[in-house]
């Protein structure tokens, strides 16, 4: 970034202010650093600095066997760990051409959608908190807790689940778990309305989000944005519909789309995704088929030589895994993650330009990043 410009000629010489936001800042959602160049409070330019949470997960994975990597994928998007598990396992299954039993695919669908709700709960809470509405944060965390309880019952963990195995599930669902999931859906229905009462028609909320960070569909796609951010701009791209995985081909659901591509539309898209997720969970939980939970998996997992890319729709967007296997060793030859948070963060610089400091935090919240996934 260049040095600040000095404007001469006015009554007083004015100077741009360089403001360092983060990595220790309450609203950068972790350890994101944004260097802002300000003209008064207006953002002239922003430089996004990442890497404070880099643990080298991709390189580490090349030195772990195929099953151990599942545990590492937990640590990427730690608010939706099960989604990363599913994404990774499905990629390996694709590489090995494994057939996953229908029961396992249904449970995966439920887990993925529960994670989407949990992740969106965290998003709506922090996003509203950044804009100053603090009660939504506590309400959303209250419901997220219910999901964590469901996960605890399923796999024993509450944050990093390690909840998948290549070819299926580690354990069958506990008896009565599907009933509890349906009960949760019933509770969650009314709670979404509660969040919306506090925000959707609130005049201050509208003023703070409408027309902020507008990005057109083609431009968003050009920047590589994905997930709700892209759909907020009206681009109908959803991996669940376009390239169905797990049991999404058997589910009926809508993909909510925005029209104007501003922060408010991204908000509305995610709020509607809450409801669509509940719809999917209901269908899946009511229709869990009987059968085995693991397919025919060889004792020693050793995919044939080759490479593959497989993407799933994580709560934040398109989460893709690119894996190369040399066919000889018990670990991947090359492992690379296309993480939605990283790709969406590309858009931040474009989005904040011309807005005010207060909008920067609104926009960081609006693109919904998890730094664990950005840096990996």
């Amino acid at each position: 970034m260049e040095t600040p410009t000095v404007h001469h000629g006015a009554m007083f010489d004015t100077n741009e202010l360089v403001l360092n936001m983060g990595p220790q800042h309450p609203s950068t959602h972790g350890v994101l650093r944004v260097v802002l160049r300000l003209d008064g409070e207006k953002v002239v330019d922003a430089d996004v600095v990442i890497g404070y949470l880099h643990r080298g997960i991709e390189k580490l994975s090349e030195n772990r066997n195929w099953t151990q990597i599942i545990l590492l994928t937990d640590r990427m998007d730690y608010v939706a760990a099960a989604t990363s598990n599913v994404g990774y396992c499905e990629t390996v299954e694709k590489l090995m051409s494994l057939e996953v039993p229908r029961r396992a695919r249904y449970v995966r669908t439920i887990l993925c959608e529960l994670q989407r709700i949990a992740s969106h709960c965290l998003w709506v809470g922090t996003h509203a908190m950044d804009i100053g509405a603090m009660t939504v944060f506590l309400y959303a965390f209250r419901e997220r807790e219910l999901i964590l309880d469901l996960f605890e019952e399923f796999c024993g963990a509450r944050l990093t689940y390690n909840s998948m195995r290549i070819g299926g599930l580690p354990l069958d669902i506990p008896p009565g778990w599907d009933k509890k999931v349906l009960e949760f859906c019933k509770i969650m229905d009314s709670k979404i309305d509660e969040y919306e009462t506090l925000l959707t028609h609130n005049r201050i909320w509208l003023e703070r989000t409408r027309g902020i960070g507008v990005i057109s569909g083609p431009e968003a796609a050009g920047l590589g944005l994905c997930g709700p951010v892209l759909r907020g701009s009206g681009v109908p791209r959803d991996v669940r519909k376009d390239e169905p995985y797990a049991a999404y081909d058997e589910m009926t659901f809508d993909v909510p789309l925005g029209t104007s591509g501003d922060t408010y539309d991204r908000y509305l898209v995610r709020m509607e995704e809450f409801r669509q997720s509940l719809r999917i969970i209901r269908q899946a939980a009511e229709g869990i088929p009987d059968g085995p939970i693991v397919g025919k998996v060889p004792r020693l997992i050793k995919p044939p030589a080759g490479e593959t890319y497989h993407a799933i729709e994580s709560p934040k967007g398109e989460l893709g895994f690119f894996i190369v296997s040399d066919g000889k060793s018990t670990n991947p030859y090359r492992f690379r993650v296309r993480s939605p948070s990283f790709c969406n963060l590309q858009g931040l610089r474009r989005l904040v330009r011309g807005h005010l400091v207060a909008d920067v935090v609104a926009l960081i919240g609006s693109i919904d990043i998890v730094l664990g996934e950005v840096d990996r």
Binding site: P26, S27, E41, G132, T135, L138, L199, I204, E207, R208
Partner: protein, 340 residues
Amino acid sequence: MIDQLVIPLVKILIVLNATLVGVTYMVLLERKVIAWTQSRLGPMRVGPYGALQPIADALKLMIKEDITPVRADKWVFTAAPIVAMVPALIVYAVIPFGDTVNLFGREIPLYITDINVGLLYIVSVASVGVYGIILGGYASNSKYPLLASLRASAQLISYEVAITLTLVSVILVAGSLSMVSIVRAQESAHVWFAFLQPIAFVIFFIGGLAETNRSPFDMPEAEQELTGGFHTEYSGMRFALFFLAEYANMIVVASVATTLFLGGWLRPFPNVAWLSFLDVIPSWTWFLVKSFGFLYIFIWVRATLPRYRYDQLMRLGWKVLIPLAIANLVITGIVKVLLL
């Protein structure tokens, strides 16, 4: 001797201590009310139901290390919290907490003093408090506090205009600047001024939120944007002074609103004879109840609403509140001349 010196001094002591205790417990009340709004419990550990939490907080802040940044302007940095705190406290000198009471055969009025320009005194003293924020932000020699103090000065100046205009319309109705006379005027008018001046009341309430840097207008300390705003660099007792000044100012706004618009210490319907059994309750209780209601709304608003953006706040102030206040003032004047 006793009337001139002892009684006022005792009253000052009582008011000062009551205010400081009130302010610290205001913090606890805020934490509790917000916790209940958010289905939490709030402080529970220190004392029964967290009742001793403010004392623990005060102790903690007093024994904390007091840091002055190397590059700060030392004198101004030290003076700023004092400049913020003192005006917030001396405003209480003219606020009438109650009617006169009979104590040891003496008629003692429940206010420290009643000066004939009481309202003017409040407005002028309260506006000095802004300097504390501006100086604090400037002296820190740091970017976030500087931005915050710029916001604060713009915000407080524009909202002060709106507030003062509403006060003028109240003065027109009451015909006096003395706080006590304004309460008496409401007694003889048989109605609270909140009903005679509803627009002024609403503008005063909104302006009061902005004046005290309360949500949704807490721009100068917007934690999520400016990491604490003007007091980012402050720690220990100096930070506590800023903090207490904010709450003291809240109580000031609530007390002024109670006095001007809600009939001060008067019981509800002071002229309805069959309600006179309510006179058993001392007058200052009514004052406290009304102010408390006001403060409760302050907290409630904070728990519910998102924060305005700086430019939107200025737009609301200059394009909505000030024109409305002026129109209200002009209409009040015309009605007053024509009808009375």
